[in-house]
Amino acid sequence: MTSQIESKHDYAAMSKAELIAELTRLREAPIARPIGYDPELAGMLSVAPDAIVAMGEDSRIRVFNPGAEKLFGHTAADMIGRPLDILMPDRFRAAHGEHVMRFQTSGEQSRLMTERSEIIGLRADGSEFPAEASVSKLPLGDETILTVMLHDVTERKLAEAELVAAKERAEQALIQAEKMAAIGTLASGIGHEINNPLYAVLGAAEAIRDGNDLSRSQEHARDIITYCRHIAEIIKNLSGYIRPADAHGLEPVNVNKAIQEAVSMAQLSLQLDDIEIDQRLEPVPDIAAKSEEVQQAFFNVIRNGLQATGRRGTLTIESGQRGESVSVRIRDTGPGIAEKDLAKIFDPFFTTKDPDEGEGLGLFVVQQIVKKYAGTIAFESEVGQGTLCTIEFPIRNMTEGTR
């Protein structure tokens, strides 16, 4: 593009101070010639590695440097005099016009355009690319020239997307790992819960084997059936929890059911001698989530509450609809959380428990799960006053079911 423009100076060889002086001179020069035809500036623009496109107040391109030719695949000869917005996809043109107007009338001298919105460039071949762009005003005579500097950030965007995906995978893996750790502590509780009816099955079967009274044998057989149903119920409650989380997508989740399952699991994994669990669950609409993750979130909070309560006390669980959310309040009568600890409860590996009681990932995972479904979680506590955890999940579409 610069073939018809001769530079009087070798700008590439100038120092920064010299360039500033030169620019000042140019800016103050009482000239009204369009920037695209200014030989000094054109020389500078031709050596810049970035794409530089300048336009006049008529929004038509005055400068299209070699960097821009390379980036967009257009020649300067084709572009000079064309409207700037042909360098962007249709869908951005209207908004772009507004931005330009606002910038032209604002007091700002320059702005990083990417702060406001993503910039997408349109190449000559119709392909698009993400770009980072900054824009500056350069008053020249009566006119204000807008100079846009762009560079292609495709690779950086890809790297960012990979990073986000990796982070999501890592979080998912952590949720799963924490779940497996919780299952470890559940195992002995499950053992207890299943070994009891299993023992009763064994005893009844032995009695049938060793006895010869038909009506008593039938009674034992009926008992065996009852015990087997009990075992099946225990396993059913757990199977949802043990499924890997990413095996299926979002589904309508009944929060009350998730709470009840979480409570049964907590009862299995802890020795709840004299803790009363008071469930006040109102019918609520379904939320869109993964049921085992919601269950895991409640399980972790309920388990914490029960562990905090110690041998005796009450854990109260309330649910209900609050506006467009399903709200769950879990309150324990434990010793409460010290103010200094309250700020840290969501930090991974922060724990006040004994090492064999938990590694400090419980609430971190709860927070990840709640955030994932656009919910909120908050703790209120004072030493000696117990702790209240409030979790809210937005009600989304896919919400026809109740109860």
Binding site: A207, Q271, D273
Partner: protein
């Protein structure tokens, strides 16, 4: 004549199963649903008649760990069998060191339970009569 076994378990089906497995032995069962009830029962019963205590661990009110400690402090002569759903080695070792004669994990077969009870009863007989609470 010692012929009573105190069964301490909160689950009715477990007490019933122990009863079934010990049917045909010379032992009669007395039942308690938790540690507190067991302590009350021992206070009422003729201690000379009680051969063995079979005690669960996970129970409401006074749990097995506390109840067993109380039995050992106050009724040192009565042999104790732990019968639990928890296969917990640490807990088992602790109990055995503490003088519990057997640690059985449910489900336990009839022969095994009967043998354990008879072993325990012999130990108790050899040890002599239990002392009343101090």
């Amino acid at each position: 004549m010692k012929n009573k076994i105190l069964v301490v378990d909160d689950e009715a089906e477990i007490r019933k199963t122990i009863g079934l497995q010990l049917e045909g032995t010379d032992f009669d069962l007395i039942e308690a649903t938790n540690g507190e009830e067991a302590i009350e029962t021992l206070g009422r019963e003729n201690l000379l008649e009680i051969s063995v205590i079979i005690c669960d661990i996970r129970m409401p009110k006074i749990n097995g760990i506390e109840a067993i400690a109380y039995f050992q402090d106050n009724y040192a002569g009565i042999p104790i069998i732990v019968l639990t759903g928890y296969p917990d080695v640490k807990l088992a070792v602790g109990f055995m060191k503490g003088g519990v004669v057997d640690y059985l994990v449910k489900p336990v077969e009839k022969n095994e339970l009967v043998a354990a009870v008879e072993r325990a009863a012999q130990k108790g007989a050899a040890f002599g009569d239990p002392q009343p609470p101090r």
